[in-house]
């Protein structure tokens, strides 16, 4: 498979598990998309998903912890991109954090992260995240937006075995992420968004696509 076939297969497989996949030309476009997703989220009332339901008192309290302004967490952006993102967030009234995510367990609206690799066979993102903030951004955010370079898409998990082994050569936490968090534990009915993100967006930066 060549690069565009891998990109096409990744897109198809990720969409099959309800991920939103978009091709973007540049990182700036990706940042703008993340802010857009966050801004549009206002329309739906699922902030800190679950808080609208009747809950026990301790769980209700945690909902109170959520700052009701909208929040983007972006722990592993390059300095330049983080600054661009901040300048997009400010006028939209969106808060931006890069560290200390554990204090926001009540819910972060959008977690924006970079992905290291992807596996097209299954539509899977590979994110090397020993950094705890990066890990949390992919876990406690309600929408996870991941940015992926088309050149980092591999056909098969076997193709990245060496790269994984290199990650694992020291203390490490690596995540394979395929679609949003899901369960079918009640009557086998598929439901998205149990303990992790309710929604996954993958933005593929494909330098070749603009040619």
């Amino acid at each position: 498979m060549n690069r565009s076939e891998r990109t096409a297969q990744f897109t198809q497989k990720a969409r099959a598990v309800s991920a939103t996949v978009k091709t973007v030309a540049t990182m700036d476009e990706a940042l703008a998309h993340a802010v857009d997703v966050c801004a549009q989220k206002q329309a739906c009332a699922i902030l800190a998903s679950g808080c609208e339901h009747a809950l026990s008192d301790p769980a209700e309290e945690l909902c109170g912890l959520k700052q009701w302004e909208k929040l983007i967490a972006a722990p592993n952006l390059k300095e330049r991109d983080a600054q661009s993102l901040a300048s997009l967030c400010r006028p939209a009234g969106i808060g931006l954090i890069q560290r200390g995510l554990a204090a926001y367990a009540g819910g972060i609206d959008v977690g924006l992260t970079l992905a290291d690799f992807a596996i097209s066979e299954t539509g899977t993102l590979v994110i090397n995240c020993p950094d705890e903030d990066l890990r949390l951004a992919t876990m406690i955010s309600e929408v996870h937006v991941a940015v992926l370079n088309a050149g980092d898409i591999y056909a098969d998990s076997y193709d990245i075995a060496d790269k994984l082994a290199a990650f694992f050569a020291k203390s490490d936490y690596t995540a394979f992420i395929t679609g949003a968090s899901r369960t079918a534990d009640i009557e086998r009915v598929l439901t998205l968004g149990v303990h992790g993100p309710l929604d996954l967006h993958v933005l593929i930066i494909d330098g070749q696509s603009s040619l």
Binding site: H53, L55, S56, M139, T178, S181, D185, I186
Partner: protein
């Protein structure tokens, strides 16, 4: 969980499960959906090759567990994890409790782990005053109900949304709607607070990669990631059978596990953890990371020549998904902690004979599990082997030793069968069915009519003349099997008509005995091996081109089990293998000889449904020939969804568990009725007995025929 003291109590538990209409419907829908989706799940993948490589990789790993454990310890230790080895379940629990105490933990969040279920870890920790919260949605639900899982992958499959909403109403103290989407969100919110306040997380693991000291954990909900990230302490409890040498081999297993378990190409998350990672909640800034390996008999199991393959299991749950018994009664009645076919085996080794003694009886030997296993475990054979140990570990039931005595003595057995014809008169009223069953022997067996012994066994009607050409193309030994010899001789006689005429010499060796399957099923493996040797001795594979049988059960037993039974006897194993190679079923033989074609042009064809005997479609791997033969013989073959589901007979099974046998049979007959078939055809006299008896009792509008009868155009 198994608490029954005896088979009677266990049957009561099964009867209650059969009454559970919600569970029945849920499991039935699941069984059909799983079956229909499985091929698509493996689209684009060479499934057989994958199964073989997973089996090979796991076997190789189990052969050097000690080495892999050493390597893992070294690598994980260097990355900051503390690795423990627990010989027994209680030792594992003690170690984990100790870790909690040393680190002043009181609130524990847990992700799903069958190994922790095995050691009853939650009870142990709760008794020591720790709060343990399961965070997998299904596990949390059953924890709140104080139950064990009823499926290894879908622990709460037996519960309805109404039951869950009642439960959540209690837990939250607020009224909850029975709306699944909303219930999931309530769980998300309730449990998020538990993650925040917990000081210790306990997980299991699907892989322990030796070359890097890495744990791999699959999950869909994302709770595993929170359990292993938010609290300052992480303890992983891992069976040592999860050790695997390399990252590549773990990725290989990962290709099969989710596909076979839930039909996903991969789970939403796969989490790979090596050593102690950064943790803001921990004082040192690093996670306090412990890995507890559980042995509990596994390393001894790994060295066992027969049972080591049980350690290939990747806990996908598929053997339950396809089991016709699980489909009816669910996991609480079909397992102790481990569920399904693998549960019948592991319960004996991990939880003891007493917990397994009733369970192990509850198998039809239909082989559906063997076919679906992603690690290629020969589950039916291991179940039979455990059965033998269970039988011989306690007092041997009278039936089994008596059967061994009789069946091994051919003249005595045949004499008993002959005299049985006179003894049965009062119950048959001289018809072909037993009219009044002696109740003391066949209690609860009123769901089907049982056939009477034939007036004249096949061996007294056999005339070799039409089957002794001067220059035959093929020389064939006929293995009659007891059921066709003494109960259904007409099946043999009608089928043989096709073979008369010159090309084929058929030899019927009078000294042949029972194939031995009933003894094998009763756990009498030595007696079964004696019979195998006897039959091979009387029908030398060197003398014949084929050993033809009209009975799929005899056929698959001779083909599959003879080589195993005689493997340890010098020389006999080779002969058994040669013998097995020549065993052929009726439909395949007729197709191969180009016989059975319908010569007449019929304006309207008879609609023929087919029942694939377990021992034919899975046991002997014969699938297409019978269907082709029906069409060649001029029938309109009408397919149905339950064709390859067991008929519920399972030899003596239907006498031990009549309620389950009857329910499976009913499901089958209903599926056939929906095809509006005129006849139901099959290739095994055992299946004919079950299906014909049931169809007659239920007054179904179709006749049940053996393939030989159908092809010869003869009505029963």
């Amino acid at each position: 969980m198994q608490t029954a003291d005896n088979l009677g109590q266990y049957r009561k538990q099964l009867a209650e499960a059969l009454e559970n209409t919600f569970q029945r419907k849920a499991l039935d829908n699941f069984a059909v959906a799983y079956r229909d989706g499985r091929d698509a799940n493996f689209a684009g993948i060479d499934r057989d090759h994958l199964i073989e490589s997973i089996g090979t990789a796991k076997d190789a790993a189990m052969a050097r567990l000690d080495e892999l454990f050493e390597e893992f310890c070294q690598k994980a230790g260097a990355a900051g994890a503390k690795v423990h080895f627990a010989g027994s379940d209680v030792e594992a629990n003690e170690i984990i409790s100790q870790i909690a105490a040393e680190n002043n933990c009181s609130r524990i969040v847990k992700s799903k782990s069958m190994t922790a279920e095995e050691t009853l870890l939650n009870h142990f920790l709760e008794n020591r005053g720790y709060e343990v919260i399961e965070t997998d949605l299904g596990e949390w639900i059953i924890q709140l109900r104080h139950e064990g899982p009823s499926h290894m992958v879908m622990p709460a499959i037996h519960l309805s949304r109404n039951e869950v909403s009642r439960l959540f109403s209690e837990v939250t103290g607020k009224q909850q709607d029975p709306d699944i989407e909303k219930l999931v969100k309530v769980a998300r919110r309730e449990l998020r607070q538990r993650f925040v306040s917990a000081d210790m997380g306990i997980s299991g693991a699907n892989f322990a990669i030796a070359e890097t000291g890495t744990l791999g954990i699959v999950s869909n909900e994302g709770n595993v990631r929170l359990v292993t990230t938010m609290p300052r302490v992480h303890v992983a409890l891992v069976g040592i059978d999860k050790l695997i040498p390399t990252v590549s081999e773990a990725l290989q297993v990962l290709k099969g596990l989710p596909r076979n378990a839930t039909g996903q190409a991969i789970t939403s998350y796969v989490t790979w953890i090596t050593g102690a990672n950064p943790s803001a909640a921990s004082g040192s800034g690093r996670k306090i990371m412990h890995i507890v390996f559980l042995d509990n008999g596994r390393s001894a199991l790994a060295k066992d020549p027969v049972f080591s393959q049980a350690l290939r299991c990747v806990r996908c749950g598929a053997c339950a998904n396809v089991c016709p018994i699980y489909r009816l009664v669910g996991g609480h009645a079909y397992g102790h902690i481990y569920i399904g076919a693998i549960g019948l085996i592991l319960t004996y080794f991990f939880h003891g004979r007493d917990k397994d003694k009733n369970l192990i009886e509850n198998c039809l030997n239909c082989q559906a599990c063997k076919q679906v296993c992603v690690a290629g475990i020969d589950l039916p054979r291991l179940i039979r082997e455990v059965h033998t140990m269970v039988e011989h570990g306690g007092k041997k039931p009278v039936l089994s030793s008596l059967a061994g005595f009789v069946l091994k003595r051919r003249p005595l057995f045949h004499a008993l069968l002959r005299s049985g014809r006179y003894a049965q008169k009062p119950v048959t009223g001289n018809t072909a069915y037993m009219r009044h069953l002696p109740q003391m022997f066949f209690r609860d067996h009123g769901f089907k009519d049982l056939p009477a012994l034939a007036k004249k066994p096949f061996r007294d009607q056999w005339d070799p003349a039409p089957f002794s050409p001067a220059r035959p193309e093929y020389r064939v030994a006929l293995f009659s099997g007891c059921l066709q010899d003494f109960v259904y001789p007409e099946q043999l006689l009608s089928g043989l008509q096709l073979l008369a005429g010159g090309r084929i010499e058929v030899v019927f060796v009078r000294q042949q005995g029972c194939c031995g399957l009933p003894l094998y099923m009763l756990g009498e493996h030595e007696a079964a091996a004696d019979l195998a040797a006897w039959n091979i001795g009387n029908m030398d594979p060197g003398d014949y081109d084929y050993i033809l049988t009209f009975c799929a059960s005899c056929g698959s037993h001779m083909k599959e089990n003879y080589p195993h039974l005689l493997a340890k006897h010098p020389g006999a194993g080779v002969r058994a293998r040669q013998f097995a190679e020549k065993v052929i079923d009726f439909s395949s033989f007729v197709m191969r000889m180009g016989l059975g074609e319908d010569q007449e042009a019929r304006p309207e064809k008879t609609r023929a449904a087919y029942h694939a005997p377990c021992h034919l479609c899975r046991g002997m791997g014969v699938r297409q020939p019978p269907r082709d033969l029906l069409e060649r013989a001029g029938y309109e073959y009408v397919a149905h969804g339950e064709e390859e589901t067991c008929c519920g007979l399972g030899g003596t099974y239907s006498f031990k568990f009549p309620e389950i046998s009857a329910t499976i049979l009913d499901k089958k007959l209903s599926a056939v009725a929906e095809t509006r078939a005129d006849i139901l055809v099959t290739d095994c006299p055992g299946c004919v007995m079950q299906l014909r008896g049931g169809a007659k009792k239920q007054k179904r509008p179709f006749a049940v025929l053996h393939m030989a009868e159908a092809i010869a155009g003869k009505k029963p």
